[in-house]
Amino acid sequence: MAVDMELEAVLRPHQYEMPPYPPKVITLANGKKMVVRQADREDVPAILKSVHPCLFIERDYYDIVSARLYGELLAWYRYRAKSEYCLMGQVDGYLVGVVNGRMETEKVGMSYHTLAIDRGLRIGSHLFAAKMEYHLEYLNQDEILIVAESPIGFRRWMIEYPLEPTKIPHELGGGDSWRLTREIYFKAKPRLVVGERPVPEDLWEEATRDVLFADDDTIRERIAGLKGR
């Protein structure tokens, strides 16, 4: 598709300067090492392949979350999202989870979505925490606006942190936003934010060589199968 750069200059939203998220490695309950790193724009097609099968999974609102995430990542890939970023978790090179968000203003962050592609290992919790860490510790923002679309998300974010309710509409158009302030974050950090830096060279090499993704049936089974946890 031909791109008219003159027109693109009008259509592409403004981007804030965003320092990179420093990668980290987290030991999961099964002993596997999950590398958490910032996705490059070029990683998006591979990520979307893992998100696609989730679009059709009703369990735990995976369909809604995946559909929104798919659109958001596509918007970022095609330069139609303002100051968006994406973090991903990889185990043995395989994509196991994705989170994204954006800078609403220099001081206010907007959390988008959290998608655990492998379940039962608190991958969603770890990645959501990494997202909060990015906003408050590396983008140096004051607060993040968050909504939950699934009961699991509500339990993990609103209750576990705990977030404070607001009447501020979230741009996703759902319920009102909840807010994570710096104060709440740093209080919760010792029990919710973990990971070691730097990422050992072998793990880093494996994670960045290729983004591997499980086949559709495997993804569906992991999320919505009999052993779903």
Binding site: T27, A29, G31, K32, G120, L121, P151, R191, R229
Partner: protein, 396 residues
């Protein structure tokens, strides 16, 4: 009194069975047990169905009548059995007594529960309905909460450590990873849930001092057995397993009323009765399925049934004395901890697993070599209604 044999055993994989109704699960498990017993539509005099909460969770009652029709057992007698998380073993006991007394020759017992129909909070609340309504429930007591308090006392009195509890979780999930019927087929690492700083997130505190991986999952599932009079068993296709002994005892409804809340008297009494009736001792048992809804319960029950002295169960677990291939393998199925705990199914599932062990028909990585005698303990309430069974393989 007639001796009673278990001639059929069936189970469906435990997990999150969104696509199946409770009745589907009960029917499937029941048919598997009938098929295993070599019985067709006929030949069953009575049906006992164990379930704790379909009236609450599914808004459905009268399960036994419905199941008798669903799997074409009409006009067999049919009764539902509700005894909290010990419903399964209670149903087997009723089948046993009905045959031993001579009233019936062959009985099908099916236990099942569909708990993932509701959120975890609702499921926890549902299980808590068995606590004392005015002395416990109204104050927000849940079973994990009770188990947490019990664990704290046990730690103080007997020196049980978190590392001992973790050793149970690791052992049972490692075995569950080998069991296709287990809800959680995932081995854990000690690093991931205990040693590593990430364990604070991976294995968070759930009910102090119990952590996430100290508790069983909330599961859907069903299991079934076919019982018959031993004297009716002719030329069996599979090794015969008999119910050599059973015991049942109750204790105070509330934990606080017990002289020593760490003393699980009903477990001790139920096991003693089962051993006496079987004319066996704890040392004669080759494999056991104990009710490990929480890791502490496996330790406490291993002491109360007589495998270890009081205060020694945790040390024994840590030393590997309850692992597969050791002194007394406990919860080789993965236990409630990994197989899952669909409350009405559990007591039956424990018996199914022991039947498979005693028939020597499990894959070698889970088959206890030459297993001849097995024990089950199904723990209702917080130890206020406990059933124990001793099963024995009958050598041809």
């Amino acid at each position: 009194m007639r001796d009673v044999a278990i001639i059929g055993a069936g189970m469906i994989p435990f997990g999150r069975r969104d696509e199946d109704s409770l009745m589907d699960m009960l029917a499937w498990a029941g048919l598997k047990a009938l098929d295993d017993a070599g019985l067709g539509d006929g030949g069953v005099d009575a049906l006992y169905v164990a379930n704790m909460g379909s009236g609450i969770l599914q808004h459905q009652t009268g399960l036994a009548s419905a199941l008798a029709d669903r799997i074409s057992l009409l006009p067999a007698a049919a009764d539902g059995i509700e005894n909290g998380p010990a419903s399964g073993a209670s149903a087997v006991k009723n089948g046993l007594l009905a045959i031993a007394s001579g009233y019936y020759d062959t009985v099908l017992v099916v236990g099942g529960e569909k708990m993932r129909e509701v959120t975890g909070w609702r499921a926890t609340d549902f299980v808590a309905t068995m606590t004392h309504p005015t002395a416990e429930y109204v104050y927000g007591v849940t079973l994990p909460g009770m188990a947490g308090m019990f664990t704290r006392l046990y730690m103080e009195k007997y020196g049980v450590t978190r590392e001992m509890l973790v050793s149970i979780a690791l052992k049972n999930q490692a075995m569950g990873a080998l069991n296709p019927y287990a809800h959680v087929e995932m081995a854990l690492s000690k690093d991931g849930i205990f040693d590593n700083p990430a364990a604070v997130v991976n294995n968070p505190l759930a009910a102090d001092p119990l952590h996430l991986y100290d508790a069983c999952p909330v599961s859907d599932g069903a299991a079934a057995v076919v019982l018959t009079a031993l004297d009716k068993v002719k030329n069996p296709a599979k090794p015969t397993v008999v119910i050599a002994g059973f015991g049942q005892a109750t204790d105070t409804h509330t934990l606080q009323e017990r002289e020593d809340p760490t003393d699980l008297k009903a477990v001790t009494l139920a096991a003693q009765q089962a051993f006496e009736r079987a004319k066996l001792k704890p040392a004669d048992i080759n494999v056991a399925e104990l009710h490990d809804a929480f890791t502490i319960l496996e330790i406490a029950e291993s002491e109360h049934v007589g495998f270890f002295k009081k205060g020694e169960g945790g040390k024994a677990a840590l030393a590997g004395k309850t692992r597969f291939g050791s002194q007394i393998p406990i919860n080789v199925s993965g236990g409630l901890k990994a197989r899952g705990h669909p409350v009405g199914a559990t007591g039956v599932a424990q018996i199914v697993d022991i039947v498979w062990q005693l028939r020597h028909e499990l894959p070698k990585e889970r088959q206890v070599k030459d297993a001849k005698n097995g024990l089950t303990v199904n723990f209702g309430g917080f130890g206020n209604n406990v059933l124990a069974f001793v099963l024995r393989r009958v050598e041809a």
